[in-house]
């Protein structure tokens, strides 16, 4: 049966603003399927974002939604979660928003291990402002501000999250649509700060500058570079050259922040 996305979409808000072939819509559908799988109550779910194309996502979803300032999603969301730990708090945003201007908030949310899920839609570019390079733009790639090729090295978002202390880190791609909801579901179920990086495409500002002839070519690249972690175990370093691991990359247990703060309240003699 066709999946009923309308259950979580705000009436009258579609079509969305994203360009033809942009994977953000595919990821939003994955998020909605995950929310449905977990039967998340709309009134008890906050979806928080920063600025950028991906950050427009909360406007479409019929929950408590908070579209904040550039890079600040994790910080605003931390306030919401602290005030109401019983709420499901999901963050969404792009790679520039999350790892450049929001980099500090991102790593500290990972460090605190506060029970929220952060979906980073990594399309390797600042799309909304017209295609300037981001910390996730590959070295050598063309962007509107790297006309001679990008001199900067790129972040590995998943490794950054793991290094900073996130207790669940997964990676998928917009091509592997079927996997997105499963990764997000597992991330939301995980107690602690979970990061799901979804490799995405920006045909409008990245693709056309970097010799991708079509959306399909960009999608096929995602298909080609992705290697599931299990499969990678049997591959040589040579075979893994240029590949990107997908699936659940990291999962550990560590005390969760709002639960730790509940203990602080207890020690201080305060009522819960």
């Amino acid at each position: 049966m066709a999946f009923d996305y309308d259950k979580y979409i705000r009436p009258g808000k579609l079509p969305h603003i994203w360009c033809p072939g942009c994977g953000h819509g595919i990821i939003m559908k994955g998020l909605i399927r995950a929310m449905d799988t977990l039967n998340l109550k709309k009134e008890e779910t906050a979806i928080v974002s920063g600025i950028g194309c991906a950050s427009r996502l909360p406007g479409y979803i019929d929950c408590c939604t908070l579209h904040t300032a550039h890079g600040r999603a994790a910080a605003f969301a931390t306030g919401v979660k602290m005030a109401r730990p019983e709420m499901n708090v999901i963050l969404v945003g792009g790679d520039g928003d999350g790892t450049a201007i929001g980099g500090n908030h991102f790593i500290h949310a990972c460090r605190r291990n506060i029970n929220m899920t952060y979906i980073i839609m990594n399309n390797n570019i600042y799309g909304m402002t017209g295609g300037q390079f981001s910390p996730c733009t590959p070295t050598g790639a063309k962007a509107s501000t790297t006309p001679y090729g990008n001199p900067d090295p790129a972040f590995d978002v998943a490794k950054l999250a793991i290094g900073a202390g996130a207790t669940f880190v997964a990676r998928g791609t917009a091509y592997h649509a079927n996997q997105i909801d499963k990764l997000i579901t597992e991330a939301i179920q995980h107690k602690g700060f979970s990061v799901v990086e979804i490799l995405d495409d920006c045909p409008t500002t990245y693709g056309r500058r970097n010799k991708f002839k079509s959306v399909i070519e960009m999608m096929n690249r995602l298909k080609d570079v992705a290697v599931p972690v299990k499969a990678a175990e049997k591959m040589s370093a040579e075979q893994l050259e240029g590949k990107i691991l997908t699936g659940v990359l990291h999962k550990v247990e560590r005390p969760e922040y709002t639960e730790e703060y509940a203990k602080v309240i207890e020690r201080a003699g305060g009522k819960k």
Binding site: M1, P15, H24, K29, I216
Partner: protein
């Protein structure tokens, strides 16, 4: 067993479709085609109800109604 193959109904919401070609390209049975700027059903008989078009459509424009 003379059960007839039950065909799905593929609903394409034209006002949502942005014509990205993803559904057409990644349909394993080439059920869909582009008609002008929007996706359209070319060969419903070939549909195997794999739901890939619905799953991949970034624009919430395709619903595959199948039992």
């Amino acid at each position: 067993m003379s059960e007839e193959k039950k065909l799905p109904r593929i609903e394409i919401i034209e006002k949502y479709c942005k014509g990205c070609h993803i559904c057409v390209e990644f349909c394993p049975k080439k059920v869909l085609e582009m008609k002008g700027f929007v996706a359209s059903v070319k060969d419903l008989d070939a549909c195997i109800k794999c739901m890939q078009c619905e799953l991949r459509c970034p624009d919430f424009a395709i619903k595959v109604h199948a039992e």
